[in-house]
Amino acid sequence: MPRRSETAAPDKGMVMLKIEGLTAEVEGKQILKGIDLEVPAGEIHAIMGPNGSGKSTLSYVLSGREGYEITGGAVTFNGVDLLAMEPEERAAAGLFLAFQYPVELPGVGNALFLRTALNAVRKARGEPELDAMQFLKVARERLKALHISEDMLKRGVNVGFSGGEKKRNEVLQMALLAPKLAILDETDSGLDIDALKIVSEGVNALRAPGFSALVITHYQRLLDYIVPDKVHVLMGGRIVQTGGPELAKQLEESGYASVQAAA
């Protein structure tokens, strides 16, 4: 048995993601103004907020995209300093960002992309790499479970994909890479109800004591399908309110202005 380079899945209830006093700037403008957040293992948390509140910035800072300057605070992922890691190291450690706008990669075949990603993560975890045949077998199972046509493997990554196909391709990647923490950045935007169900099923299928998710969304709709353990409201770069799933419904009815008034 290959030795794993890291600890096994954390027990339910242990803190998987811990954000303390996180502040960050984009092009000299402060967007995150002191975020405090804890996501225990096995829980799904939603972050809701109006446009411009810092939702996408938070997801990019957590996944290590360039162009965001972290000016203060700390983030640990299963006890390890997340902000010190390269994006590929974060992915190998089990963090997955489902992009709001998945990037098109003309000339890169989807199958090659998925296999390269899966093998890179497997290698980093000390697991054996899969050859083309082994990969195809695994990929087919996932495609079937997500009701995605096999044809999608043959196309360029996200090239000419509809909005729904792109999001499904994100969920397919997530299913293959089997992350510990998934960050879904407005995955519901641009999805019709059928696609929304498929995407939600993909996330719900991963639900386990060692899996957590941070579901970032503007609307309550997605949370009918992925029922969160907690809902946080992000406004003006801070978490201004935290509650249970009922908070999402409340926001849907009375809007963000009511929270602002209360905060």
């Binding site: 590929e88 992009f99 003309p106």
Partner: protein, 431 residues
């Protein structure tokens, strides 16, 4: 050791010394071609950057090198590169080596030029131009050998490998092979050409091609240029495509110190087509120049050109592409795209598209882009766990893919794929 004259004077000096010994010296038509070429070369000399066609490529390193002609070389038996077709013609230092070649089973006639010269009056020199083309003049003045391929009407001749090997020698050598390729009506042929040499070799490979594609014939011509790191290759292709014929050229420039790939194609009959695609993969101090001149000289012809250049280190790339649509060439469909990907801030690309259109019913588009690796794409790959170097390699390969996918012939495409993959692994190993 006596001083060896360099520059144009050096080549002219050696021509005078060798002219009685060069192949075809007793054939009046060859003698006349060489004399005319020598005169053209004498009056023009090596092109300088003051000449518009050579504005971005400085030939002084070639002019200053001081070469011997291959006539003085000894026979050697170098290692041969991977074979793609069943038949292959091997040239060592520009000379056809029947002992290393395998030509059985090819459904067309393949001969060495030196031996075939008595029968080539009226064919040799028909397409090549020595005026305003000093390197073609040099080739005509000093060619010693070449390949003569004739595919009979209606014959699908298969795949022919054309291998050119430069060898290491005490003094750098120059060789100027002249290749004549003729496809008769309805014929087809794929040529996969590999030009290479050992690391330590210094030489000038100055080939000229005269290619005739007759009515309804198809020639696929994949050229893989992987010359030795200190070698020069200056090649000039002349292709004439008759009605309904197709010339499909792909040139990969990956080796050599200073390289020019110049192609002149004439679409001479209605519904003729050509694809001129290519990739240049450059690093360190390499210089590679692709120059295309395309004449749409008949109606209803289509042309597609996609050239991609990847530059790292202090390398320099050049693309010059001229499309000339003659007045008769109504309903021309022309497309030209050249794109460069800069991997280093010290690399440089010069790009000069040029359209001259004299017909009024024409669809012609061209474009040029220069960029770096897209930060969004790179982040997307890294966010999926793919290490940065591997992610960059994937994006470079993807950038080149579009040009290679344009090659219709599968054998040629596989050969090009392998060459690109090989270039990238060497690039990564060196980094």
């Amino acid at each position: 050791m006596t001083a060896h004259p360099t520059g144009a004077a050096g080549f002219l000096h050696r021509f005078e010394g060798l002219r009685r010994r060069l192949p075809g010296a007793r054939l009046p038509y060859v003698e006349a071609l060489r004399a005319q070429a020598a005169e053209a070369f004498r009056s023009q000399g090596f092109p300088t950057r003051r000449v518009e066609a050579w504005k971005y490529t400085d030939l002084r390193p070639v002019a200053d090198a001081g070469f011997d002609e291959a006539l003085s070389a000894v026979d050697s038996t170098p290692d041969l590169p991977t074979a793609y077709g069943a038949a292959r013609a091997v040239f060592v230092d520009g000379r056809f080596r029947t002992d290393l070649s395998t030509l059985d089973g090819l459904a067309c006639r393949v001969e060495g030029l030196a031996a075939a010269l008595p029968g080539l009056d009226g064919r040799l020199g028909q397409l090549a131009r020595v005026e305003a083309q000093p390197m073609v003049a040099l080739n005509t003045m000093l060619f010693e050998d070449g390949l003569v391929v004739t595919v009979p009407a209606g014959v699908a001749a298969g795949v022919l490998d054309l291998v050119s090997l430069g060898t290491a020698s005490e003094r750098p050598e120059a060789f100027h092979p002249r290749h004549l390729i003729r496809l008769e009506p309805g014929a087809s042929l794929t040529i996969v050409e590999t030009a290479t040499g050992p690391d330590e070799a210094r030489y000038l490979h100055n080939p000229v091609y005269e290619i005739e594609v007759s009515e309804g014939a198809t020639l696929t011509h994949a050229r893989i240029q992987q010359e030795a790191a200190r070698a020069f290759q200056l090649s000039t292709v002349y292709a004439r495509v008759a009605a309904g014929g197709t010339y499909d050229n792909f040139t990969l420039n990956a080796g050599g110190r200073l390289v020019r790939n110049e192609i002149h194609t004439v679409l001479a009959g209605p519904k003729a087509a050509c694809h001129m695609n290519g990739a240049q993969l450059l690093r360190d101090g390499q210089h590679a120049d692709t120059t295309t001149v395309l004449d749409h000289a008949a109606p209803d012809c289509a042309s597609r050109q996609t050239y991609k250049t990847v530059l790292s280190g202090k390398s320099r790339g050049v693309f010059q592409g001229k499309i000339h649509v003659h007045q008769v060439a109504q309903r021309t469909d022309g497309y030209q795209m050249n794109q460069a990907l800069l991997l280093s801030p010290e690399a440089e690309i010069d790009s000069k598209p040029q359209l001259e259109i004299y017909a009024d019913d024409v669809k012609c588009s061209h474009g040029a882009t220069v960029g770096e690796i897209d930060a969004e794409q790179l982040f997307y790959l890294r966010a999926r766990g793919i290490p940065e170097e591997r992610a960059r390699a994937m994006l470079v390969e993807a950038f080149l893919r579009e040009a290679i996918e344009g090659v219709q012939d599968e054998t040629a495409r596989a050969a090009l794929d392998a060459a690109v993959t090989g270039w990238w692994s060497r690039q990564e190993a060196a980094a």
